[in-house]
């Protein structure tokens, strides 16, 4: 479980995040949504430690990220996996080598065991047949799946996904969403997804945090979102005709 308490983040004079309080539970897919420039990427970066908050706490199962010493921080990072918007696979390595990289770096297992674990992760994301290909030889969706396999290689407790569906067609997006959701439940991870994709919100949003101009505007799940009376949330979620019609049909 990850708890964020009274989190503030400023850049020079600009307050980007203001008093964010939320809980991300394990075994659930937690979504952070919001308009471009609302501060959701900054929040994600504060949670994973790429930005240091101006004030506040980020608790990983009770351990405060902000006050951790270097060694504790190093150990915590090994419990994290992250899927980047661009997949961020190492382009000089094959898919298998990419997935093996965290194992090569931190695992004490022998080579055969490391290969076996990497192949297990690739098999889990249905990508075993592409193990010897380089990232630029596979599609965007396959790159995302390879990045998920790399993120789960060390069996992390926390999984972060920064816009996992960006640049993917709707069908592939659903595959990625389902994969992230299934892996979250299967490995009982705390997963936080930063997304714009309303299909993801409606499909796998078990705990949704809506950020508006740097503060928490709304929190709930996909069922509650349909009946929400929050005007700002509704104008964001139901901006497209399709979702507006779905809501009207539900009424």
């Amino acid at each position: 479980m990850i708890e964020v308490k009274s989190l503030y983040k400023s850049f020079e004079d600009k307050d980007v995040l203001k008093d964010i309080n939320c809980v991300f539970e394990n075994g659930k897919t937690n979504l952070i949504i919001g308009q471009s420039g609302s501060g959701k990427t900054v929040l994600m970066k504060c949670i994973v430690g790429l930005f240091r908050p101006t004030s506040g706490e980020v608790l990983y199962d009770g351990r405060d990220l902000v006050t951790m010493n270097k060694q504790e921080w190093k150990m915590l990072r090994r419990e994290m996996g992250m899927l980047f918007q661009s997949a961020a696979l190492f382009d000089s390595m094959t898919v298998l080598e990419n997935v093996m990289f965290p194992l090569d770096m931190f695992s004490r297992d022998n080579y055969a065991d490391r290969v076996r674990r990497a192949q297990f992760c690739l098999d889990r994301v249905n990508l075993l047949e592409a193990q010897n290909k380089f990232p630029d030889e596979i599609s965007g969706g396959m790159q995302k799946r390879a990045a998920i396999a790399r993120a789960i290689a060390l069996n992390p407790k926390y999984l972060f996904c920064d816009e996992p569906n960006s640049g993917l067609d709707p069908k592939t997006s659903l595959v990625i969403d389902d994969l992230i959701h299934d892996i979250t439940v299967e490995f009982d991870m705390t997963t936080i997804i930063n997304t714009h994709d309303m299909n993801s919100v409606m499909g796998i949003g078990e705990n949704i945090l809506y950020i508006y101009e740097g503060h928490k505007e709304w929190q709930g799940n996909k069922d509650q979102i349909m009946n929400s009376t929050n005007e700002r949330l509704n104008s964001f979620i139901f901006a497209s005709d399709l979702f507006r019609k779905v809501k009207e049909a539900n009424k």
Binding site: V48, L50, K74, M75, R77, R78, M80, M82, F84, Q85, S86, A88, L89, F90, D91, F101, P102, D104, M105, F106, F160
Partner: protein, 248 residues
């Protein structure tokens, strides 16, 4: 203002070097990268070093023969001067300037691209010291290979000079050989090695710094690549003066 910026940049460079020169996370991974970098930065540069040095050796020999030698000069002066230029300046300093263009831009664009495509962020999230993992093998690999490249350059230059004797008949082989052997000072070779190792550090660390600190997209990566070549070339020229004074 400019001074402030320069001091700030130098401070950031020192901080990056502090992170770079720490104990590698996994020695096995470090050696794998180290060998790869020696091949990529060093072995892959042998061709261009041999080619340029061969022609420069030949041209130096022809120029000295045509412009310096006279009836009052001993016949070995052409070979002697060719050797001294190759040992003292060309193979150690000018060759490093050329390599700053090839190796420096390669390093800056490689690391810069990794930065803008979030590959460095991915390393950091995994808990890997990205500066140490990416930069240290490049710096040590190039510092290891540079004296080897200097050796290749020296011998290729001499072969170029012999080519002018054998093919062009500009000078006799005996006169050239006599000049190349005349009052040989072994320290000049060591001086070239010392200078080249220092320049290898300058090229790789400065280029890696520019690549690592890129912010933006492909335009900024291109700019970082150009800036790295310009900065490392200027630093090589400045430090060449200091090192030459210090070692001579």
């Amino acid at each position: 203002m400019l001074l402030d910026k320069s001091v700030a940049t130098f401070g950031r460079y020192l901080m990056l070097m502090g992170r770079t020169f720490s104990r590698p996370e996994r020695m096995r991974m470090f050696f794998k990268q180290y060998i790869k970098e020696m091949s990529q930065q060093g072995v892959d540069s042998i061709g261009i070093v041999l080619l340029i040095s061969f022609f420069i050796g030949a041209v130096i020999c022809i120029q000295i023969k045509l412009n310096i030698e006279s009836p009052w000069m001993p016949k070995f002066v052409t070979g002697y001067t060719t050797r001294e230029i190759m040992l003292l300046e060309f193979s150690s300093s000018i060759m490093c300037l050329i390599l700053a263009g090839k190796v420096g831009s390669n390093i800056a664009s490689e690391i810069g691209t990794m930065r803008v495509t979030q590959q460095i962020d991915a390393l950091e999230i995994m808990g890997v010291n990205s500066a140490n993992y990416l930069i240290l093998p490049k710096v040590l690999g190039m510092m290891t290979m540079m004296p080897v490249l200097v050796c290749f350059s020296i011998f290729s230059g001499f072969i170029g000079a012999y080519a002018t004797a054998v093919v062009g008949h500009i000078i006799t082989v005996d006169d050239l050989t006599l000049g190349l052997q005349h009052e040989f000072n072994e320290w000049y070779v060591w001086m070239g090695f010392i200078k080249s190792i220092f320049f290898a550090f300058v090229i790789t660390s400065v280029s890696a710094f520019y690549g690592y600190t890129v912010e933006g997209g492909s335009v900024e990566v291109g700019k970082a690549s150009t800036d790295s070549v310009v900065s490392s070339s200027v630093l090589i020229l400045f430090s060449d003066v200091l090192l030459t004074q210090l070692l001579s």
